[in-house]
């Protein structure tokens, strides 16, 4: 994992001092609300329904045990003993006091963390594959490039006041687990015909009000040109992106309105003028790569029969292994998902006690590192199979072992009306209700892989438009209603969900979901997944049943 050098540390320390001064000036009345808004957002501070919300960057989802303990400490000292993991691998606190936020940032800086550019119309935290470096389908580890992008985007002077927010995701594996097709820029590590590795560059993807699948702007970009090409795209966007209407200001609209061809021409022209001055030095790439060297794996981890024995003797453990662990490139190791979707807790939330305990487990079993995922769970990426049983027992005690990863109750959910000032409808309550209706784990496992995403408003923080089932909260004359979509996907065969029909009332939404799942169970072919069935039959069979019941 990347460790800060003196430059990195100095920069975050000086950022804390800068924000402390800005906050003080604001509280004294020297900076207007409007001006402070821009400054605080670029430090992750929102003003929410109840209190400010602070979003902390999880750089491409990587955290270490010390950082997790710091989050626990912050939750205890400055918040209500919990935090929330987001779909872009960040961490949110919902209850800090504004005047204390500089202190929180100082605490974070002491463990090489920050909240820089986690909000605002600027370059945001770069996200990536939560299985980077360990998965079996990897072309190349994306994390060194994520770090290079992190540094380049951090306090970039030219691109701090963009037309709208700008998100970059990098994937290095065959299966896209980072939703790169739904980012302003998506980068895929690919091989060219000569067997060299470079980037396929996608542009103009995004979710929110107008979901758009990103288009390939550069099928193959040499690694040394990574930053010059990003700079070319950003400069064109900064100069020509719309600023007259915030709903049309994302780069996806610029690409759509100018057409990919014309947009590409502008970028290409700009890039040709700057590319030779911005080449990435190969020594720099090597230095950053060295920070992501594999940990000291044991060579005999695959030996021994205890792991198999435990699975034979304990069905619950075996089920957990099946759903909550993933294959690892090193024999005898597995990547372990910690489900933050226990039935009775809000999706993505973690308490201070859990954070501390997971830090200890990471130290004990996974080289002291933790990752957060795009679907709001955590991963211990390097666990020896012989350690899985004791790890599972401890996770179970912590309520972090619900065997539901990738299933119906592994919902992505935004904070909704309970916390967010933008929301039109609640989401956490609905997630709880759906969980209660689906309280039979065997039934959940029978349904198998399904992604349910629920957002409390059309800003779409929970990516409902790419959920296999998407739920979108809308306001109808002061009442909370929910629109359903089916068939969305953020993986390789990206798709935007199709609307099922009219919105459903709050007291009907759980019934609608269970009806959809029942239709699937009854009409699926053999081991056909939910998504494949929707692709085969369309939405009609689901629609008939959902609206018949109403």
């Amino acid at each position: 994992m990347y460790q800060y050098n003196d430059t990195d540390q100095t920069l975050v320390d000086q950022r804390v001092a800068q924000f402390r001064r800005q906050t003080k000036s604001f509280l004294k009345g020297d900076i207007s609300d409007d001006q402070f808004r821009a400054l605080r957002l670029m430090n992750g501070v929102y003003i929410q329904t109840h209190a400010p919300m602070l979003r902390i960057a999880g750089p491409y989802g990587l955290l270490n045990a010390r950082q997790l303990r710091k989050l626990a400490h912050i939750a205890r000292t400055y918040d209500k003993n919990y935090c929330h993991f987001t779909t872009r691998q960040n961490v949110q606190f919902n209850w800090p006091q504004l005047e204390k936020i500089p202190d929180i940032l100082e605490e974070l800086a002491s463990v090489q963390m920050h909240a820089i550019q986690t909000s605002g119309n600027c370059l945001r935290n770069t996200s990536s594959d939560h299985l980077a470096g360990v998965c079996i389908d990897e072309i190349e580890d994306p994390r060194p490039y994520c770090e290079i992008i992190r540094q380049w985007t951090t306090l970039h002077p030219e691109f701090a006041y963009l037309p709208r927010k700008f998100k970059i995701a990098v994937s290095g594996a065959k299966l896209d687990r980072a939703a790169t097709q739904f980012h302003d820029i998506g980068l895929h590590l690919v091989n060219n015909d000569a067997g060299e590795t470079g980037f396929r560059v996608l542009v103009g993807g995004g979710l929110g009000r107008t979901p758009v699948i990103g288009q390939v702007i550069k099928p193959y970009l040499e690694k040394k040109h990574l930053l010059s090409y990003l700079e070319a795209i950003l400069r064109i966007y900064n100069l020509f992106g719309r600023r007259d209407n915030k709903y049309k200001a994302r780069i996806k609209i610029l690409v759509k309105e100018s057409g990919l061809e014309k947009f590409s021409e502008l970028v290409e022209k700009e890039w040709q003028l700057i590319r030779d001055n911005l080449e990435l030095d190969s020594d720099y790439i090597t230095t950053v790569k060295a920070q992501f060297a594999p940990p000291a794996y044991e060579t005999d981890a695959a030996q021994g029969s205890r792991f198999t024995q435990h699975q034979l003797e304990n069905q619950t453990f075996a089920t957990w292994v099946k759903y909550n662990t993933a294959d690892h490139k090193i024999p005898g190791y597995r990547a372990v998902f910690l489900s933050l979707k226990a039935p009775d807790s809000p999706p993505g939330d973690m308490t201070d006690t859990q954070l501390d305990a997971v830090a200890d487990l990471a130290d004990l079993y996974s080289f002291g590192e933790i990752r957060s995922t795009h679907r709001q769970n955590l991963v211990l990426a390097d666990v020896k199979q012989a350690d899985l049983f004791p790890l599972w027992q401890q996770l179970d005690t912590l309520k972090l072992a619900t065997a539901n990863i990738g299933t119906a109750t592994d919902m992505i959910c935004c904070p909704g009306l309970d916390f967010c000032s933008l929301a039109n409808a609640g989401s956490i309550g609905i997630a709880k209700e759906i969980n209660e209706a689906l309280d039979d784990l065997d039934y959940i496992h029978d349904i198998g892989e399904i992604k349910i995403n629920m957002s409390g408003c059309m800003n779409g923080c929970a990516h409902q438009s790419v959920g296999h089932i998407g739920i979108l909260g809308v306001d109808k004359k002061g009442a909370e209603w929910y629109q359903l979509t089916l068939g969305g996907s953020s993986e390789n065969e990206a798709a935007i969900g199709e609307r099922l029909g009219p919105a459903v009332a709050k007291d009907q939404i759980t019934q609608a979901i269970t009806t959809i799942l029942d239709v699937y169970i009854k009409q699926r072919l053999d081991d056909e997944s939910f998504l494949n069935m929707v692709k085969r039959v369309g939405i009609t069979p689901f629609k008939e049943q959902v609206y018949a019941d109403n």
């Binding site: 800068q18 001006q35 119309n121 306090l155």
Partner: protein, 150 residues
């Protein structure tokens, strides 16, 4: 009026002449539109002439004239209009402009640091009492990840 120029607070004598106003003596700046329209007449003037560029203008339009222009004003209609930052970068980085680039209009003292990093060397703030604070923000960071341009 006082401004920041080259990291000093100094007295300044430039004034902007609106498109519908008569030209006057002394150091004046005019809009890009006026420059394009009255360039020949302006070049004959004994005054020094600067050109004010807004976010929607294209810097490319004035690239060929830069050698005759001692001052470019980059004017913020609103502090969030980040096109100004790219205009400054292009003036210095692409067109190698050596004259004064001055930020004018509605921008925040807290933007002075980034503006200085993209090549702006003079700042005319909305409130002159903000000048010392704005000047001190130039020392906010002693390190950075990108090359600055000046």
């Amino acid at each position: 009026m006082q401004i920041i120029k080259d990291k000093q607070i100094i007295d300044d004598s430039w004034s902007y002449v609106a498109d519908d106003a008569e030209l006057k003596d002394g150091d004046i700046s005019v809009s890009l539109a006026r420059w394009k329209k009255d360039k020949q007449q302006l070049l004959k003037s004994t005054s020094k002439i600067g050109v004010r560029i807004g976010p929607a203008d294209s810097v490319e339009d004035i690239a060929a004239d830069l050698k005759d222009i001692p001052l470019i004003e980059l004017d913020f209609p609103a502090f969030a209009d980040g096109r100004i930052f790219s205009h400054a970068w292009l003036l210095r980085g692409r067109y190698n402009y050596q004259g004064e680039i001055r930020a004018t209009g509605h921008f925040m003292p807290d933007q002075v640091f980034y503006l200085s990093r993209v090549g702006i060397n003079a700042f005319s703030l909305e409130k002159t009492e903000d000048l010392p604070a704005a000047l001190s923000t130039l020392n906010d960071f002693s390190v950075n990840y990108q090359k600055s341009i000046c």
